[in-house]
């Protein structure tokens, strides 16, 4: 029982740090430089313990707290260990970065922020450990609540308040849905332990209802379309380390929930559940990526890209469910592995990117892409580390993002064996869409990096931007290293994921992969498909080396620095570069129907012509505002009950009495 105890110790440590911070409420330096790094180290320890626990048997524990007759049950199995690994690894870098990030006088007092931050971490860890519905729900909501306070840290700003409100509202409604899902699962037994829920084998209808509630609830947290609207609002509103955690780690807890309920408690289920997940995931991926390419605010861009990545993950889950429902263990394992690898990869590169924006934000105080540029000169550390994240985020070999993408496409390629012809038809289309999504992600990433770090600085102040400090570099470097390592050594990655797939599906890729050594990733067999990132990188670098040698060998001329050529145009300035809008313009044009675009065109006779384009989500106007209007309408209708006339009130009472008497009479 050693692992789970250690994890509880770590969680307790986090809480202790939070409480400690309360006593140092306004001593920014102490809180930032001392407490956050300590929290980070604890996170690293958590990752280590989780990794070790992943390869050992499941452990259980009970807390004294909880409902009467239902003490909080904890269970550490492979699934939770995997997600604890994600949490721990994600926390380390973020906390280190935060040590250099938080400054005095920014919204909430640093001590309070530290408390909320660590409560948030603890809640996430306990969500993955929870082994009964009540514990799960409590931790789930605590997570939402603490993150709400983190998001609203700078609550002087109205927009931040609105964003936080929207976030908590959707989180709460989703939580109620999850709660109802548990209500279905417990099937009137009144026993809320997962062991019991697992034992209840529901009939198809009830199971589907439960699954529906789960998808809605966890979808609202993960940011699946159409309940994603809170995400692009909340992430930019939060302080960058928080947005990093929200996007890279917290969204994954929703994936955990889907896995726990869909695969574990409901034992897989019907094929169309998988189809539903597939569809939702795909739509989210498409919407997310298309919107991220047209954003003009760097954190919004990343937020939408998170929606895209979550979409990809959910697509993988859906495929796995489909395979599982047809009893194809190995293919299910392939799809699930793809999803899980992406969970890990996304945790790393999205953290990296968000923290990068944090560094930029602090250096320049500017979050609008249209006012950034050329930061590669002034902040090389951040630029190069973020560059790694960008390549990974674009799903390029040989980095982390590509492995999962590769596995996902592989699992799509081998679906022809499905007995369901409808799916057979569908799945090539899905594969095509996935390819499109990934390519678009590349577009968005190039835009992100190019507009922020490359080209000429679009503002004066950017020239004075300072590079990240040591703490921030540690944080960024950790994630960059992670992206590289995961990209280059997929086989150990598969070993990790294999434990989970074995637990959930009873099948895994480890054996087949190990058959071909640690360099090559061949999930089904060498003759079917193989990918060796290390060799790949070796090949490319060899080619580069060859190129360099040839140049050295053949080159006779010298190298001279001069003004850019630009077809001989001389009066070139920074304003002539593509803005973020310009870079996104082709996508706006091609995917016009996705957006709700409002333009302000300048007239030819304008003295100071200006052009403004505002791209919004159609859903917002198509779904949410109507709902709000409906509620208001109902509220007005209900309000007529309370017209202040006492006779009317007496009449209500009288009529009610008569009606009830009549009911009893018959």
């Amino acid at each position: 029982m050693i692992h789970i105890d250690w994890i509880l110790v770590i969680v307790a440590g986090w809480l202790a740090l939070g409480v400690w911070a309360l006593f140092a409420l306004h001593r920014t330096k102490f809180v930032a430089r001392r407490l956050f790094p300590l929290g980070g180290v604890l996170g690293l320890a958590l990752a280590g313990v989780a990794l070790d626990a992943l390869f050992s048997t499941a452990e259980v524990a009970e807390l004294v707290i909880g409902l009467p007759g239902l003490p909080m049950h904890l269970r550490l199995d492979e699934l939770s260990a995997f997600f604890l690994l994600v949490i721990g690894a994600g926390t380390f870098g973020t906390s280190m970065f935060s040590a250099g990030y938080f400054r005095a006088g920014e919204g909430t007092a640093p001590g309070l922020l530290c408390l909320e931050y660590h409560v948030f971490l603890a809640a996430m860890a306990l969500v993955t450990l929870a082994d009964d519905a009540y514990c799960f729900m409590v931790m789930w909501e605590t997570m939402a609540l603490s993150s709400f306070f983190l998001v609203t840290a700078n609550h002087r700003v109205a927009s931040v308040r609105q964003a936080a409100y929207l976030y908590l509202l959707l989180a709460h409604i989703g939580a109620i849905a999850v709660l109802l899902c548990f209500g279905v699962l417990q099937a009137n037994t009144g026993d809320y332990t997962f062991a019991n829920l697992r034992a209840q084998h529901l009939d198809a209808v009830w199971a589907s209802i439960a699954f529906g509630f789960a998808v809605f609830g966890f979808g609202a947290k993960a940011g699946l379309v159409p309940v994603h609207v809170w995400l692009p609002e909340a992430h930019p509103a939060a302080p960058s380390p928080v947005s990093a955690l929200l996007s890279a780690v917290m969204l994954k807890t929703a994936i955990y929930g889907l896995l726990r309920i869909g695969f574990d408690l409901l034992h897989g289920g019907l094929w169309w559940w998988g189809a539903v997940l597939l569809a939702l995931g795909l739509i989210s991926a498409l919407v997310g990526v298309v919107f991220s390419t047209v954003q003009t605010e760097m954190k919004r861009l990343l937020a939408y890209s998170s929606i895209e990545n979550i979409g990809l993950i959910v697509t993988g889950l859906g495929l796995a469910l489909i395979f599982r429902s047809y009893g194809m263990g190995n293919l299910a394992a392939l799809a699930l592995s793809a999803a899980l690898v992406h969970v890990l990869a996304h945790a790393f590169f999205k953290n990296l990117l968000f923290l990068g924006t944090g560094a930029v934000l602090h250096a320049t105080g500017e979050r609008n892409l249209g006012k950034l540029g050329g930061l590669m000169r002034s902040m090389p550390w951040v630029a190069w580390l973020v560059f790694v994240g960008v390549l990974a985020g674009a799903g390029l070999p040989p980095l982390a993002g590509f492995v999962s993408e590769w596995l996902l496409l592989q699992s799509f390629l081998f679906t022809t064996a499905l007995p369901n012809s409808f799916l057979d038809m569908l799945i090539p289309l899905v594969a095509a869409a996935i390819a499109l999504v990934v390519a678009l992600a590349g577009y968005a990433m190039v835009k992100f990096f190019g507009v922020i770090f490359l080209g000429q600085p679009r503002e004066e102040k950017l020239l004075r931007a300072h590079d990240a400090g040591l703490w921030q570099r540690i944080g960024l470097a950790w994630f960059a290293a992670g992206c590289l390592a995961m990209g280059l050594l997929p086989v150990p990655l598969i070993d990790i994921v294999d434990r989970v797939t074995q637990r959930l599906l009873g099948a895994g890729l480890a054996q087949t992969v190990h058959a071909n050594g640690w360099l090559l990733l061949a999930p089904i067999g060498l003759e079917r498909a193989s990918y060796g990132p290390a060799v790949f990188l070796g090949g490319v670098s060899a080619g580069v080396l060859l190129g360099v040698l040839i140049a050295r060998r053949l080159y006779r001329g010298t190298l001279r620095r001069a003004d850019p050529w630009a077809c001989g145009y001389v009066g070139i300035n920074a304003r002539m570069q593509d803005t973020a809008e310009g870079f996104g313009q082709p996508i706006r044009q091609i995917f016009e129907p996705f957006f709700r675009i409002t333009r302000e065109q300048p007239s030819p006779f304008d003295a100071r012509p200006h052009y403004r384009v505002d791209v919004q989500d159609r859903l917002w106007h198509g779904l949410y505002l109507p709902i709000a209007r409906l509620v208001d309408w109902l509220a007005r209708a209900v309000g007529r009950l309370q017209q202040g006339r006492i006779s009317t009130y007496l009449m209500y009472s009288f009529v009610t009495l008569v009606i009830m008497l009549l009911l009893v009479r018959r």
Partner: protein, 317 residues
């Protein structure tokens, strides 16, 4: 991965062949274009001369250029070399081929594209960013199309490893595959776009309204430009080889038959020659289309490839 001596031999031979023959192929195509347009044709070795010239010129780099800018040409060169190395041109027994299958190959091209686009944005001129945007625009449509085209064949061969795909294709006794027809057309269209050929792009002009690839490399000169040009020719070579290997997979040597390789080289040369002429023919026959039409062009190829997949699912599985 099991590495045989013949494998290493074949691998190195292929790389050498690619490096040497790529500019030649380019020259051959240009020659034929000139002929077809009744111009006096440049010698087939013209690309070599260009390279030599560039290697002797001074390289001028913009003052604000970052290391990324200067590093990119070599990355391009490296990527394209690897691409040529993993595509089975004369033999399917390639040690490097196991490292990257069809999907990884597409990833490789995407990697190169990302680098060149970023390098173009690095200087911060209007042309550079414009070129980068257009390149990415083409890229995000071409990539999936290419992937789908490759998938058609991998659905037939039940493999994504290029060596096996080619091997199977060349072995199976001949049957008519409608899906392959779709895939082939799609692949051709993608290759045109990816290699900046007419009708998508015109390597011959510097007209800023139309140019794509040239805008990307506008700021390069001297050795960097040389590397870029060479990489471009390698890319063309790689694409042609993939096409030929997948859709006309005859005469490619199998495992452990060094002699077959000797036979394979002339076959390859022959196929490339034909391909080059065809390419020149296409380029002459068609007119450069407006940049706004390009997405439609690529979307068509994408759809063709997907239809190919569906056709395969319907008729052939």
């Amino acid at each position: 991965m099991n590495v045989s001596t013949t494998g290493i031999l074949a691998q190195s031979l292929e790389i050498a062949l690619a490096l040497a023959a790529a500019p030649l192929l380019l020259g051959w195509v240009d020659q034929w274009r000139a002929r077809l347009q009744n111009r006096s044709a440049p010698p087939i070795t013209q690309p070599y001369r260009v390279l030599r010239k560039l290697f002797h010129k001074e390289s001028v780099v913009a003052g604000s250029a970052s290391p990324l800018f200067r590093f990119t040409p070599y990355v391009m060169f490296g990527c394209m070399t690897l691409a040529c190395a993993i595509v089975p041109t004369i033999s399917t027994d390639l040690p490097l081929a196991t490292a990257a299958d069809a999907i990884a190959l597409v990833g490789l091209f995407a990697l190169a594209r990302t680098f060149i686009a970023l390098a173009a944005m690095d200087i911060g001129t209007a042309f550079g960013t414009m070129g980068a945007r257009r390149e990415m625009l083409i890229g995000f449509l071409a990539e999936p199309a290419l992937l789908m085209a490759l998938f058609c064949t991998s659905l037939i061969t039940h493999s994504t490893s290029l060596a096996n795909m080619v091997g199977t294709m060349s072995h199976r006794h001949y049957v008519l595959e409608p899906s392959l027809a779709f895939a082939g057309v799609a692949f051709t269209m993608v290759s045109l776009a990816e290699n900046a050929r007419v009708p998508v792009d015109n390597p011959a002009t510097h007209l800023e309204l139309t140019m794509i690839h040239e805008a990307l490399i506008l700021e390069y000169s001297g050795r960097h430009l040389a590397m870029m040009e060479w990489a471009a020719s390698l890319k063309l070579f790689a694409y042609s080889c993939i096409g030929l290997a997948l859709f006309f997979p005859w005469g490619i040597a199998e495992v452990d038959s060094p002699l077959a390789m000797l036979f394979a080289v002339p076959v390859l040369v022959f196929k490339l020659a034909i391909g080059g002429v065809l390419l020149a023919l296409i380029e002459t026959a068609s007119a450069k289309m407006r940049i706004f039409r390009v997405p439609e062009f690529l979307a068509t190829s994408f759809l063709l490839a997907v239809i190919g997949l569906l056709v395969h699912q319907l008729l052939e599985s």
